[in-house]
Amino acid sequence: MANTLGRILLYTVLCLTAFYYLLPLYVMFITSVKGLEEIRSGNLLSFPTDISFAAWGKAWSSACTGVECRGLSSYFYNSVRMVIPGVLISTALGAINGYVLAKWRFKGSEIIFAMILFGVFMPFQVLLLPMAQTLGWMGIASSTTGLVFVHVVCGLASTTLFFRNYYVGIPDELIKAARLDGAGFWRIFFKIILPMSTPIIMVTLIWQFTNIWNDFLFGVVFSAGDSQPITVGLNNLANTSTSVKEYNVDMAAAIIAALPTILVYVFAGKYFVRGLTAGAVKG
């Protein structure tokens, strides 16, 4: 009897917490489909009587983000242009680095690993000023290329860590056997290691995608008007002071900015979680 009561209590707590976590998503969504009048007369939780996606259209193509009123679409494409090369390059480099650091150790490679690893933790604020100047010298300041470069440099530490920890778990005997058969550095990598790497490649791709898509700091410091990513666009939109604050447009914009990472989470949540736990420097 006491046990049944305990179970009921347990489920109640779990469901209430689930409600708490879902609340902002619910509020964002229903606010985005309400009209301004309804937002004013109703409250946070009240269900919309008149569902309209007008705010979504406005957020996408005509809302004001500062001086300009062209919506989030161009920011969204900027993010897409930034995230694809950023993710692919940093993942490829991480795979190669991890392979060397796990399977081709040499004198000093552990120190190099430790040096790279510190990059996972360092506060990027320290890089901002020198990086801004360097990007200027390289001629890629305020451009998508510049942002891709910054994300590759700063993502290197985590991608290397992921692959290194994964490859440490692959038995050395496999490599030794391949070497006896006369396979060299690259052949072992492409024929043996890479085909076994699908899970960690997925984890790294998703981790990097989420991080780069969600980044705000580099976006706001290193980009200008036509290269700003979606997070900067959303922040500009939500903080633009207009006479009438359009909360429905703000919320639609927030959902648009969140949609790609939410979709990734829904469809590849397993890899997302593994990335999170792998980020905890275990292995």
Partner: protein, 299 residues
């Protein structure tokens, strides 16, 4: 086999290829992390303001920084934010993990729900909570509609309380992550230990408190590291939720650095403040990394 003996078997190409392959990343790290740290450190000792200026100024920028009231507000806020963010995040996360560990029906769905905020950017989280905590229309109006006419909730625009709204949104975002880490840890605990304790007649709560949680000490430390690291780096959440305001009442070092370096033309002070952030992180992380890497070598 020692590393050098192993290397003797390799051909010339295979001895140098790994180093060559690692070289670009090593150089990038050397220049863009360590070189930039030194460069930024140097900037913090110069008279740089709107433009970088290489005139040596000694500790002048640090003196300006330490005499700046806004900096101390930011430090104090970081302290408040970090301790509450880490404390509540841990408590909620561990609690949820233990609850979910009780053979719950629909565990998968609940886990997914608890963790999804982690997939969102802090800017999205900030924007959403800014709307909900908005005095007048958000939570306050909801409570009024429910009959609590005298309910007021103006933390977002109250300079005494604004930093606590950052805590609310931050904990909402990150506690699911703590849950995921601890749940993974709990699943790794050997069932036979628990069974043995149960046979001895120990209560479940006692088993968790005395046996299981102590066994999860490594998970606890990893989580602590990551959460404090998120707290020190937190920039987006504050920018999106309060913008550091009202005034500069919810500033944290990260937003302070941004304001000084990029909007107020105080580059030297900005550089000095980021060096302070680096020092804080290094003090936490270097011993941790050292023990992690050493532990692995021995284990």
């Amino acid at each position: 086999m020692s590393i050098s003996a192993q290397e003797a078997h390799y051909g010339f190409t295979e001895r140098w290829l790994p180093r060559l392959v690692l070289a670009p990343s090593f150089l990038l790290t050397l220049i863009f992390l360590y070189g930039f740290i030194i460069w930024n450190g140097y900037l913090s000792f110069t008279t740089s303001r709107l433009m970088p200026n290489l005139t040596w100024a000694g500790l002048a920028q640090y003196q300006i920084l330490f005499e700046n009231e806004r900096w101390w507000v930011a430090v104090k806020n970081l302290f408040i934010f970090a301790s509450l963010f880490i404390g509540s995040g841990m408590a909620i996360g561990i609690g949820l993990a233990i609850f979910l560990d009780q053979k719950i029906r629909g565990e998968g769905i609940l886990r997914t729900i608890y963790l999804y905020p982690m997939a969102l950017s802090f800017v999205v989280t900030g924007t959403a909570w800014k709307w909900m905590l908005n005095p007048g229309l958000g939570l306050e109006k909801l409570m009024h509609d429910w009959g609590f006419i005298h309910f007021t909730f103006d933390w977002l625009v109250n300079s005494e309380m604004s930093i606590y709204t950052v805590v609310i949104a931050g904990v909402w975002q990150s506690s699911g992550f703590v849950m995921a880490l601890f749940l993974a840890g709990l699943r790794g605990v050997d069932d036979s230990i628990i069974k043995a304790a149960q046979i001895d007649g120990a209560y479940l709560s006692r088993i968790y408190w005395k046996i299981i949680l102590p066994a999860l000490r490594p998970v606890f430390f990893s989580t602590l590291m990551i959460l404090s690291h998120i707290a020190i780096k937190s920039f987006d959440l504050v920018m999106a939720l309060t913008g550091g305001g009202p005034g500069f009442s919810s500033d944290v070092p990260a937003t302070f650095m941004y304001a000084m370096a990029f909007t107020r033309g105080q580059m030297g002070v900005g550089a000095a403040s980021s060096m302070m952030m680096l020092a804080t992180v290094a003090a936490l992380v270097v011993p941790y990394l050292y023990s992690e890497l050493r532990g692995k070598k021995n284990g």
